[in-house]
Symmetry: C2
Amino acid sequence: MKHFAIAAAVFLSASALAADPLPSWNDTASKKAIVVFVENVTKEGSPDFVPVPERIATFDNDGTLWSEQPAYFQLFFTIDQVKSLAPKHSEWKQQEPFASILKGDMKGVAASGEKGLMALLAATHAGLTTEEFEKAVTQWMATAKHPKTGKPFTAMIYQPMLELLAYLRANGFKTYIVSGGGIEFMRPWTEKTYGIPPEQVIGSSGGLKYEVRDGKPVLIKLPKLVLNDDKEGKPVGIQRHIGRRPIAAFGNSDGDLQMLQWTCSGSGARFCLFVHHTDAEREYAYDRKSHIGKLDKGLDEAKARGWTVVDMKGDWNKIYP
Amino acid sequence: MKHFAIAAAVFLSASALAADPLPSWNDTASKKAIVVFVENVTKEGSPDFVPVPERIATFDNDGTLWSEQPAYFQLFFTIDQVKSLAPKHSEWKQQEPFASILKGDMKGVAASGEKGLMALLAATHAGLTTEEFEKAVTQWMATAKHPKTGKPFTAMIYQPMLELLAYLRANGFKTYIVSGGGIEFMRPWTEKTYGIPPEQVIGSSGGLKYEVRDGKPVLIKLPKLVLNDDKEGKPVGIQRHIGRRPIAAFGNSDGDLQMLQWTCSGSGARFCLFVHHTDAEREYAYDRKSHIGKLDKGLDEAKARGWTVVDMKGDWNKIYP
């Protein structure tokens, strides 16, 4: 009898685990809200039912699908590109923000502001063909390590969000990334890492120029933004690339607020969620006063509108895979 | 025995029809080239095999999926918009290209050139929210008729191309429109008409501005091009929206040439096709000297590179559904 009870308990817990599409989520209100929403929009005959083609879900990347501290990961890539290009640019020793980067002075880099950032992107991203740039990103991703954890950057993705992406897709959703990060910086690895193909990646985009070089067509990256996919730019990017309004949106900062507003102001069932970084031990804790991924207005609006706010510490039993 | 033979013949021809995914295509070289390509890239173990996620096919719209004579159909829409807005714009009687439109003088409209076209688009497309514009397009499509055939514009689509779209999708392809026409002009009807959802429509795109009006978020169309999706702009639009190179591309004019070059210069099996308008009786006949849909350099390059050129008159046994 005892043996039977143990066997039954093991069997039950194994089958419960197998049945739970979100095992890294604790059984708190956040998880319940997600499951209730998905069940409502997928149940035929339900007043909240949404046909498959309209099941569009958009996810911010930095701080929502992977970590973003102590700096956006694309900045580490850019810094490494500057260092590798430096031998060909002796003038950079006297020129900001390159001089600060070469001295390892991150405050000096930050002081150069948006103008400095654009100069960095122009020097390291523009002028390359899309294929050369893809190769540079892929090579860097294969070897670069995060300064604090020592992990590859693509290992610093959130296991609970991977489960959420898979759960939504299993329920007929098309999952998109809508990130302030560079579109061509993300596409080389998002399919393998998140199961999100390049055509479902929306990000800040630079101009491109078509040219035939030595009889071979190429696309050259230009130092000109055609989409700043942040804040008000996120609904713009969504409309430009998808052409219909998502029914679910996931972010972690005020940069995602407009995407959530746009998503949740549509008619019918809608779901909006902020990931709140509350776990200084397993990841990072920051919100209203952070210089990266500031979540301030978003927290207030989430409360006022009844959006879901994930408490990373309490809601997630696992952070990285 | 005779009855049996007739029954067998009927059965055979019915099953042959059922088995033919391209019944509106005559058994000429064009059809054979399409079928051979699709069989090669879908056959596991074949040296030309292409995995499903990479089976991207791009189609021009005007002149490739639907007719484009005597003028691009979007121009008829724009003219009708000008006429309906005219009572609120008495100044248009003295202002080109509006004055010519109101007088029905199409030569005067053409004389205003690209500057005039931009003024028209600004007056009729910009300033509206994306939802208002979608509604205007949908209402117009439901009632407007082609000046020559008297058919609704969405009935002037090519039956053989519908079959080709379905055949490619049945073989794991994702089918995209890549058109010089306006992206927001096409999206309201492409899903119903071609089975191509809004997120797989790429077109010339204007700027958008996110605003909260009376507490409700909206996207306003701006009179500024962010993508001129024609000629060199087509590979740019493809990269921006899809992020990978198509393996098959379909066009009908020199405006599609760069899309075909970009597609067919990739490695592995590739397929490029021009629709050549050779049927003055059932549709229109035009090529090297046409003011719309000029096919000149494209014809030469297709010959030099061995691309498929569809002879509408000889290759298609049906034009419209």
